[in-house]
């Protein structure tokens, strides 16, 4: 199966060929590197930009205004904190301008911890991103969703931010992309740039990919159960699934595990239905815990389902500290790991009503 980053690359290729993508660009996005995570290797429209995040976003906006469909990259979301004003403008120009201009740009950026990245390769971005009205925000947790969400992000006429979970980029999917070759070595031969001198002459051979549009705003119910509702996305989603399976096997506790996928707009109908069933709610993410997007979800649950809750709704989040430390004794204690997910899920499912 394709890895998540290969799926992104194939989606961008599909976008170039079939959805009108005109430019895929950013720092080290073009040849020879094709992105620090290889997401943009071999793409026809990929090019290297100056080292200037503000220029990248501005250029993408200009391209979109002039009728293009750009996909730009911020190399790590950790380096996206000097562009919030531009993101705001991209998100408000339509409202401010009486709806005259569309802004069909995609911003993709790796987000989250899990690669021993120290302070500046471990940031989460969702709590910043969801504060940008006018933007749609997605974060896949597996290759197939990455493909389907990226295609929708490209197709949507609004600015869409695709947060890529750094830690999962090299994880293989469980389900094939439409048109993905069955043999993963064959795929690698086709679309991964070779290392070394031969790279200069290399051109990819793209599989005959088919479209898959995962609608924005649609979550995915990846486990079904009765004891509690768990909402997550990105790096922590597989840990929630793992915990659900373990708690089911060991303690007979079963969970609705919702992969939110689309953070804004989010699938409120799915969350609501699940919480109405279980009466218990936990949301898990790794962003810092003060003014965190998970707190918004908890607020929505409280707003509309307070009297349906049979136990305290809760969040499991990253700690309010200035950074993720390199020594793993920092990282492991700053952002949720499997052990804390297990505890939180068991507690929400079993707390006396």
């Amino acid at each position: 199966m394709a890895t998540l980053v290969q799926a992104v690359r194939m989606a961008l290729h599909f976008g170039e060929e079939h959805l009108g993508v005109t430019d895929v660009f950013g720092e080290d996005v073009g040849p020879p590197l094709g992105g620090v995570f290889t997401a943009t290797q071999g793409l026809r429209t990929a090019w290297n930009s100056p080292l200037d995040e503000r220029g990248i976003i501005g250029c993408a906006m200009g391209i979109a205004y002039a009728g293009g469909r750009p996909v730009c990259e911020i190399q790590f979301c950790d380096y996206g904190f000097n562009i919030i004003d531009l993101l705001k403008v991209a998100g408000n120009q339509r409202w401010a301008g009486a709806g005259q201009f569309d802004m069909p740009m995609v911003l993709m950026t790796p987000s989250g911890s899990g690669i021993r990245g120290s302070l500046y390769h471990s940031h989460s971005f969702e709590s910043w991103a969801t504060r940008l009205p006018g933007w749609k925000i997605v974060m896949p947790s597996n290759a197939l969703d990455a493909y389907g969400l990226m295609l929708s992000a490209i197709q949507d006429p609004n600015p869409v931010m695709v947060l890529l979970p750094k830690a999962l980029l090299r994880v293989r999917g469980e389900n094939p992309l439409p048109g993905e070759p069955a043999d993963e070595d064959a795929l690698k031969q086709m679309i991964d740039a070779p290392v070394g001198a031969t790279r200069a002459d290399w051109t990819p051979t793209w599989p005959d990919l088919k479209p898959l549009f995962i609608p924005l705003g649609k979550g995915s119910l990846v486990r079904e159960g009765t004891h509690a509702t768990v909402v997550s996305y990105g790096r922590l989603l597989p840990l929630c699934v793992q915990a659900a399976d373990q708690l089911s096997a060991e303690q007979g506790l079963s969970f609705d595990v919702i992969d939110l996928r689309s953070l804004f707009p989010y699938d409120w109908a799915m969350i609501r239905e699940s919480v109405l069933k279980t009466g218990r709610f936990l949301t898990v993410n790794e962003d810092t815990e003060v003014t965190n997007f998970g707190e918004h979800l908890l607020r929505r649950v409280t707003d509309e389902l307070f009297y349906d809750l049979i136990a305290r709704p809760r969040v499991l989040l990253g700690k309010h500290v200035p950074g993720i430390g390199l020594n793993q004794n920092y990282e492991m204690n700053e952002v949720p790991q499997l052990a804390e997910v297990l505890v939180a899920m068991r507690e929400v499912a079993t707390e006396a009503a």
């Binding site: 005109t22 430019d23 100056p50 200037d52 503000r54 220029g55 976003i57 501005g58 250029c59 993408a60 906006m61 200009g62 391209i63 979109a64 205004y65 002039a66 009728g67 293009g68 750009p70 004003d85 531009l86 403008v89 408000n92 120009q93 339509r94 409202w95 401010a96 301008g97 009486a98 709806g99 005259q100 201009f101 569309d102 802004m103 009205p133 006018g134 749609k136 295609l151 929708s152 197709q155 949507d156 006429p157 609004n158 549009f213 609608p215 924005l216 705003g217 649609k218 804004f264 707009p265 989010y266 699938d267 409120w268 109908a269 929505r300």
Partner: protein, 359 residues
């Protein structure tokens, strides 16, 4: 006025076919056109200042003192929609540009009066914050200098499209101290990927209350382009004829060489920064309109009564627009959410217009 009108010396004085400024000159017809638009621009600003003081509106900002440069710019724009035409990345002083392009004064007044019919922002944004898709006028934002990072993007599309479309970007002198000004030069001049960006700076010697010379070591802002190989020039933006030609050179360079060009224009600020600083008439600033009218009078192009008639016609046109705008609908609570998101087939929550939090 065709050059056949030129009279032999000694004969009955007829107006010359061209009006001169230094070594440059411009046809009388063009000068009359520029003048008419400068008057309309000035009157529009003055009427809006009045509205901001009378309580008809809350806030005024505009470009009195920049009419010469802005109108000359507007008249040279190739207007239309899409990459075959020019793109405009403006700031909040470019009234004269849109007037020169032929914007109905009513549209400006509608924004000033915050009506629902305001085509630029539906009464949402400050005056002079235009947005006009059919003329490639990118929504103006109050945020200083961000327009400079967007211009290379539209210019990229124009260069790729072929033709002669130019991306015009303009802002003030103080704003060039934001990093985005440097970014604009960098992204426009990448080797082998140069872009047709006409980079303009209107230097009025102030950023709100802060004098230019207190912050800028640059003798000329336009000198900053040199290190990037960006050609350009400094021009007296209070001189309509000089402005016309500087802009013509800039456009020609961008249209034909498909590379950036930079112009720094010295302009005036006749009514202070905005209504926040009172918007009273300042002393000691060159008035480009008065200067141009003197030239037109001295050159025998216009008579005083003709000038008066032009002023009156402009005032009447504007007064009528004000009256009209006052009769038009205002936004209501129902308009709060509209145009937050464009409709999208791939969005299951907001396939149509936005209605608040997902439900």
């Amino acid at each position: 006025m065709p050059s056949a009108n030129r009279s032999p010396s000694g004969a009955v004085m007829e107006p010359p076919a061209e009006l001169k400024s230094g070594r440059e000159s411009l046809s009388i017809a063009k000068c009359r056109e520029i003048h008419r638009y400068m008057v309309l621009t000035r009157k529009l600003d003055e009427r809006c200042i009045k509205m901001s003081k009378s309580g008809e509106a809350y806030f005024w900002v505009g470009g009195p003192g920049e009419e010469a440069f802005n109108v000359c710019l507007g008249l040279q724009v190739r207007k239309g929609q899409g990459p075959a035409y020019d793109f405009l990345h403006l700031h909040y002083r470019n009234l004269g540009v849109l007037v020169g392009m032929g914007m109905p004064v009513l549209d400006h007044i509608r924004q000033m009066a915050m009506t629902l019919t305001d085509p630029h922002s539906m009464g949402r944004n400050f005056v002079c914050h235009y947005s006009k898709r059919d003329w490639n006028v990118i929504p103006v934002t109050s945020v200083i200098e961000v327009q400079y990072v967007m211009a290379p993007g539209s210019a990229l599309m124009q260069k790729r499209h072929g033709g002669e479309g130019v991306s015009i970007v303009i802002g003030g002198d103080a704003g060039t101290h934001e990093g985005d000004f440097a970014s604009s030069m960098i992204w426009s001049s990448r080797p082998g990927a140069e872009l047709p960006v006409l980079i303009l700076v209107t230097n009025n010697d102030w950023g709100i209350s802060t004098p230019f010379e207190s912050q800028h070591a640059e003798k000329r802002i336009v000198d900053r382009g040199r290190a990037f190989g960006i050609e350009g020039e400094f021009v007296d933006g209070n001189d309509a004829i000089a402005s016309w030609h500087a802009l013509a050179r800039g456009f020609r360079h961008c249209r034909t060489r498909r590379k950036p060009y930079m112009i720094e224009a010295r302009v005036s600020r006749l009514h202070g920064h905005s209504s926040s600083s009172g918007a009273g008439r300042e002393k000691g600033e060159v008035d480009p309109l008065a200067a141009f009218e003197k030239k037109l009078l001295d050159g025998g192009v216009l008579e005083p009564h003709e000038i008066a008639a032009i002023h009156n016609a402009a005032a009447d046109e504007i007064e009528e627009a004000v009256r009209q705008a006052h009769t038009e609908p205002r936004p209501t609570v129902a308009d709060v959410y509209t145009h937050t998101y464009a409709p999208s087939q791939v969005d299951s929550v907001y396939p149509e217009d936005y209605t608040g939090l997902p439900s």
